[in-house]
């Protein structure tokens, strides 16, 4: 009698129970591999999460343990209320600022910069893709900002912001302002947004737009009712990437802000000073800082997986 591989029993529980062993082994191996890869990516975050709940005594403990022995939320409350440190958390002048202003700044700068950058980049990409604006050279030229190490731009731009601009347009201050930071971020990310969206626009056949034009739709109407829905996935991905870039940007935020326009990455760096490092609150702030990005990613993931149903040309 042959061993039954596919039993006739209708209930799924019975079917699963009788699958051959090698199927289980393969499944377990896949799960293990996925687990390992996932752990490698997620371990730093897990560690950060762990430190954020540890008291100072455990911050530098060796051998390191993942789970805190005496978990506390003091690190988090310290962020919002540095004047009343709990327990052994010392007060340092640099770290005596509450984090809310930094969050407010970041929540203003990053989304606005992202929206501006992606909008301008998308429209530029459409022009380059459909009308060949700029010929062969101009679109390539927009990438030059990304060809240099960003820090090379730091000093010239600092001079530009603090010396040249106030002279050109009296009364306009860009240094240590949110507007100044937004403009900076847009300038540096718009080329990226252009090239990323251009790829998606190129994938939309011109015929579809021509068909709409034949019906009498204006170019703008074609853009918004035909092209944009078809590149939704690409736009979502680009928005997320640019948002991550602007939200986590540290170097330029550090150089171009001082007091008023400090963003969250800069604030995180304030927790390390000459006397020591506040690992706990720093980790806690890091966790909090990642929340907006995670939320954004979650909200638009539906659009990221629009499904490229290019099912027209069939064989």
């Amino acid at each position: 009698m042959t061993r039954a591989i596919a039993p006739p029993a209708p209930s799924s529980a019975a079917v699963t129970a009788r699958l051959p062993r090698r199927v289980y082994v393969a499944w377990a191996a896949r799960l293990l591999t996925a687990g390992v890869i996932g752990a490698v990516f997620f371990l730093p975050v897990l560690w950060m999460l762990s430190i954020s709940f540890k008291p100072p005594t455990e911050w530098l403990e060796y051998p390191p343990t993942l789970l805190p022995k005496e978990p506390l939320v003091g690190n988090y409350t310290f962020l919002f209320n540095p004047g009343n440190p709990e327990g052994a958390i010392a007060v340092m002048t640099g770290a005596a600022e509450p984090v809310i202003p930094a969050f407010v700044n970041s929540l203003i700068v990053a989304p606005i910069a992202t929206l501006l950058s992606v909008s301008i980049g998308f429209l530029a990409a459409y022009a380059v893709s459909r009308f060949r604006v700029g010929g062969n050279f101009m679109p390539f030229f927009t990438l030059t900002t990304r060809m240099f190490p960003p820090v090379a731009f730091a000093v010239p731009l600092l001079l530009f912001y603090s010396a040249v601009i106030p002279r050109l347009i009296p009364g306009l201050r860009l240094y240590d302002t949110r507007v100044g930071l937004i403009l900076m971020y847009v300038a540096f990310t718009v080329a990226f947004a252009l090239w990323m969206t251009k790829g998606f626009i190129d994938a939309v056949p011109r015929h579809i737009e021509e068909a709409a034009i034949l019906d009498g739709a204006s170019r703008w109407r074609v853009l918004f009712t035909v092209t944009v829905p078809l590149v939704r996935g690409g736009l979502a991905a680009t928005t997320l990437f640019v948002f991550i870039l602007t939200w986590t940007e540290f170097l330029f935020a550090l150089i171009f802000t001082q007091r008023f326009a400090i963003t969250v990455p800069v604030q995180v760096s304030h927790y390390a000073g000459a006397i020591g490092r506040f690992y706990g609150p720093q980790a806690a702030l890091g966790i909090l800082a990642s929340i907006p990005v995670v939320v954004t990613g979650y909200l638009i993931q539906r659009h990221l997986v629009t499904g490229f149903t290019f099912g027209l040309v069939r064989e």
């Binding site: 015929h207 068909a211 009498g216 739709a217 078809l230 099912g311």
Partner: protein
């Protein structure tokens, strides 16, 4: 009885792109309700002509008339023509309903009217059950009907189709051709259909317009094109396997006229005058279709020995119901078609018959047919 006036008239139509002539001085009348095919190799100007009629390209010179209105200056949506693209160009992300309604909505037609017209068209094209489906998920036949429906809903007078079946695999193509033709017949709408596939044009069109390098070679019903090609190009383009061509020289000997090539020659009597007038150089290209070259043993009537030409078989290509045989007849390479059961081998010699009445004569200089 007068013919009804043509629905589309092209007058002296010309299109240049940066100095290259894509379409040269085209004149054409298209009859109302006709299915006319524009046929030709890639780059011959057929699609450019179609796009000029649609309004996607502006003619460099010339006029386009729809009935009694000149349309070449009008934007596409005001011309009263519908355009079906290769790959149909449906709006994938929209439902069938929205695809059909798009043109009407852009024209600002009231929603109630839009709904009525969309449903009417959907009904006639059997699209009613799938009105809510997204266009990307349709099967090919449905896509074709939606593409047609989208153009029909704005009630065009003429439909323009740009190689819509181009990307389909062969079996499916034949089926779609039949559907399209049936639809055209039932709708009664004039259709201008561009294709590079001669089988398609010859089976679907009421008339076929053959183009080459921007020039109109011939426009006539398929039978006419096949039996009396007007130019060398048409003769060589239509028909598979292609026509055999033999370069001959016309000469008169003892009062008798001959066309000769090497050791082959044929006496000419009925078309002497035509040849002398239309081919002054004396160089005449003789065309004979492979179907008109027969092994002597299969010829219907007994032939005089003088009419037989000995030939040596070079290559035999068997197909399902026929064989294509390459022969060498006194130095001239010819293809002929024999029934599939006919025994023939490479290296064999046999006599072939070429009926002079099946000869197509062309002036070697101009390429035009001699009639």
């Amino acid at each position: 009885m007068m013919d009804p006036p043509p629905i589309i008239r092209l007058r002296n139509l010309r299109k240049e792109f940066n100095g290259t002539v894509a379409v040269a001085n085209l004149d054409l009348d298209v009859a109302d309700g006709e299915f006319i095919c524009f046929l030709g190799p890639s780059g011959c100007g057929k699609t450019t002509t179609l796009r000029m009629i649609a309004g996607l390209e502006t003619p460099t010179v010339g006029e386009i008339w729809l009935r009694d209105q000149r349309i070449d200056a009008l934007p596409p949506q005001r011309r009263g023509v519908g355009f079906v693209f290769q790959n149909y160009a449906l709006f994938w992300h929209m439902s069938v309903y929205d695809n059909l309604a798009f043109g009407l909505r852009v024209r600002g037609i009231a929603p109630a009217e839009v709904d009525a017209r969309v449903r009417e068209i959907a009904e006639s094209l059997e699209l009613s059950p799938i009105l809510r489906q997204r266009a990307a998920r349709l099967d090919l036949s449905a896509m074709q009907r939606v593409a047609l429906g989208r153009t029909l809903v704005v009630r065009p007078q003429v439909l323009l189709l740009d190689e819509p079946l181009n990307n389909f695999r062969p079996g499916l193509r034949e089926m779609m051709r039949g559907e399209l033709k049936r639809m055209q017949l039932s709708l009664g709408r004039t259709m201008i259909y561009v294709t590079h596939d001669q089988e398609e044009a010859m089976t679907m069109g009421d008339r076929v317009l053959v183009m080459n390098a921007g020039r109109l070679e011939q426009v006539a019903a398929p039978r006419e094109i096949y039996r009396r090609p007007a130019t060398l190009f048409v003769a060589g383009f239509i028909g598979r396997p292609p026509m055999n061509f033999i370069e001959t020289q016309y000469h008169v000997e003892d009062g008798r006229a001959f066309l000769g090539h090497g050791r082959l020659r044929w006496e000419i009597d009925t078309r002497r005058d035509a040849i002398e007038h239309q081919a002054p150089s004396g160089r005449v290209i003789v065309g004979i279709r492979p179907e008109d070259v027969w092994p002597a043993v299969l010829a219907v009537q007994e032939r005089e020995p003088a009419e037989l030409t000995p030939a040596r078989v070079e290559l035999v290509q068997p197909l399902a119901r026929k064989k294509i045989v390459d022969v060498n007849a006194r130095g001239v390479a010819l293809k002929m078609v024999v029934p599939g059961a006919f025994p023939v081998r490479a290296g064999q010699t046999l006599d072939v018959v070429m009926d002079r009445r099946a000869f197509h004569l062309f002036d070697a200089q101009t390429g035009r047919a001699i009639d």
